[in-house]
């Protein structure tokens, strides 16, 4: 214990890789760590580990000051996108509850017009959170639902529109095109870009997280990330690689299936948890 040698760096490499950090990002992090350790003459194992956590947290640093984007003119439009099953609908329910507790008046838009019982699922969250709700019948046009929801929000004086969309694989070009259309229709209704386009990522995801961020970023103009299911054992290390390449701040973290299980992202928490 306390011996600084190559063994330590191979232990750190293993921990990073086991946390779903990519091979390339792991090499990058460890090479920067060696430089920092040499330059600052860090001489203990604890010191090196502390330095490593700091290095990882600092990659996210600029996120900490950001909550979700609030526009000058309400209602805010926050759109939720991502692949199948990551937690979009549940996150909207939690966020609606949080907004209500702050005296806001959120409206949930049932933009998933495709999946079995998707509208009903969001409706339950609207009831649980006390939020307004706009939905149509299954099979109707998703973009139209979001449009109607925005109009309804303006008419009712709602403060926030939280728009759900159907899960989709970024490999399906027709579905990605549909998503692009929903964003454009929303833009027209708002007279500006959505205040947030949040890509929801499941913490269990490995290297595919990068692909998801690239493709959804490109089509939907993603402004931020939500990391869900961190109450499990997965560390979400794939996120580290996203920071440098794509500038996608992590805004929210899902910590369970209950209505209260949503927090703001904290880089220090993320870095510590990575090595827990």
């Amino acid at each position: 214990r306390g011996v600084i040698d190559e063994n330590l760096y191979s232990v750190l490499e293993e921990e990073l890789l086991l946390a779903d950090t990519s091979v390339a990002v792991t090499e990058e992090i460890l090479s920067e760590l060696r430089d920092a350790v040499r330059k600052d003459k860090v001489t203990t194992v604890d010191g090196i580990r502390e330095r490593l956590r700091h290095e990882i947290a600092s990659r996210f640093d600029w996120d900490r000051v950001k909550g979700l984007n609030e526009p000058a003119v309400p209602p805010a439009l926050w759109l939720f996108v991502g692949v199948n099953g990551v937690g979009k609908t549940t996150t909207i329910g939690k966020l609606a509850s949080s907004l209500k507790s702050k005296g806001k008046r959120p409206l949930l838009a049932a933009g998933d017009t495709f999946r079995a019982a998707a509208i009903e699922q969001l409706q339950v969250w609207a009831e649980r959170s006390g939020a307004d709700f706009v939905g149509a019948s299954p099979g109707s046009d998703s973009a139209s639902v979001v449009f109607s929801a925005i109009e309804a929000a303006k008419a009712r004086g709602c403060t926030h529109v939280l728009a759900d969309t159907a899960g989709r694989q970024h490999t399906k070009s027709a579905l990605m095109t549909e998503l692009g259309k929903t964003v454009r229709v929303a833009e027209k209704a708002m007279g500006r870009a959505p205040d947030e386009v949040l890509l929801v990522l499941d913490a269990n995801t490995g290297q595919n997280a990068v692909r998801q961020a690239e493709e959804f970023g490109h089509i939907a103009g993603v402004t931020g990330l939500v990391l869900t299911k961190v109450d499990g054992t997965a560390k979400g290390g794939a996120l580290i690689g996203l920071q440098r390449g794509l500038h996608l701040p992590v805004k929210l973290v899902g910590t369970g299936e209950g209505i209260e299980d949503l927090r703001l992202f904290d880089p220090k928490w993320f870095a510590e948890r990575l090595f827990a």
């Binding site: 779903d20 990519s22 692949v83 099953g85 409706q123 970024h170 490995g206 290297q207 054992t233």
Partner: protein
């Protein structure tokens, strides 16, 4: 993609006409990167690489001018061998055969229940589904809608998931159904209480197939997750879903290597006909990229 990587590594060696141990180690490093990028578990990758090196030496890769092709073949064959043979459906000696669907939140269990039900209908069988997820909002409704879509009855009920499961098996026997497919709530592998509930549901109905439904995008935790479900339930198979995305699916290799549980089916889309039998050849190609 592995082929491309190795061609790069070996192109300089072709000029020299022979391979040194260093050259082979560089090539193995490329294999390691490819396998880790495919989400194969770190520990599994380590053992895997050791076996590959052994085979490479055994096949005298050092003397070969087509070493890159040989190495790719060795890696591919090793993956196929690890992934194993096709396992036929475990029919019960007397109906109904009970299939229990389990897994993490959002992995695709409910959809897979309907896909399997549709498959069985096409095979001339008479399945029933049991809606034992009483936790997720509108989960029962979701299974009912899917049941209508595939023309399969869905048993819903009051009480606990165990109560509903018990009622369902009675009803399935009463209606002479061939198969009862039990949908359960997503749960964390580390949630002892919910893992106990799963075991209780299994005990209440007596299952013949216990399938772990795993999202193809899962990363390093695939091993811990699969091991926990294996320990608590004793799995008969894995269903890997969302392979219509571009996740490489290395979790399949990890789970098979560590738990020995075979992959039985593959989910290839959201529609109820998007279920295929597992093919180790196709999976090997996908993992290699």
């Amino acid at each position: 993609r592995l082929t491309r990587r190795l061609t790069g590594v070996f192109s300089s060696l072709r000029r020299q006409g022979r391979l040194s141990e260093d050259d082979v180690n560089n090539a193995l490093r490329e294999v390691r990167v490819a396998v880790l990028e495919a989400d194969v578990n770190y520990g599994v990758a380590k053992d895997f690489l050791a076996r590959i090196k052994e085979k490479a030496v055994g096949e005298n890769l050092f003397g070969s001018l087509t070493a890159d092709q040989t190495l790719v073949r060795i890696v591919r064959d090793e993956i196929v061998e690890l992934l194993g043979e096709d396992v036929p459906f475990h029919w019960a000696p007397a109906p109904p055969t009970v299939v229990l669907m389990a897994g993490l939140q959002g992995s695709g269990k409910t959809t897979t229940c309907a896909k399997l039900a549709r498959w069985l209908v096409k095979d001339g069988k008479k399945p029933m589904m049991a809606a034992c997820d009483l936790q997720r909002p509108a989960a029962v409704h979701q299974l009912q809608v899917l049941g209508e879509q595939v023309g399969v009855p869905v048993h819903t009920g009051q009480g606990s998931p165990v109560d509903v499961a018990k009622e369902a098996i009675q009803r399935a026997r009463h209606l002479f159904c061939d198969v009862l497919i039990v949908d359960t709530a997503g749960r964390l592998a580390m949630d002892a209480e919910l893992m106990n509930e799963l075991a209780a549901i299994e005990k209440a109905v007596g299952s013949h197939e216990r399938l772990l439904v795993l999202d193809a995008t899962i990363g390093q935790e695939s091993v811990n997750v699969a091991q926990a479900f294996q320990d608590r339930l004793g799995l008969t198979g894995v269903v890997i879903t969302k392979l219509d995305g571009d996740a490489r699916g290395g979790a399949v290799l990890s789970v098979r290597a560590v738990t020995g549980v075979p992959v039985r089916y593959v989910g290839t889309g959201e529609a109820t006909d998007a279920l295929e039998r597992f093919s180790s050849e196709r999976m090997a190609g996908r993992i290699l990229g």
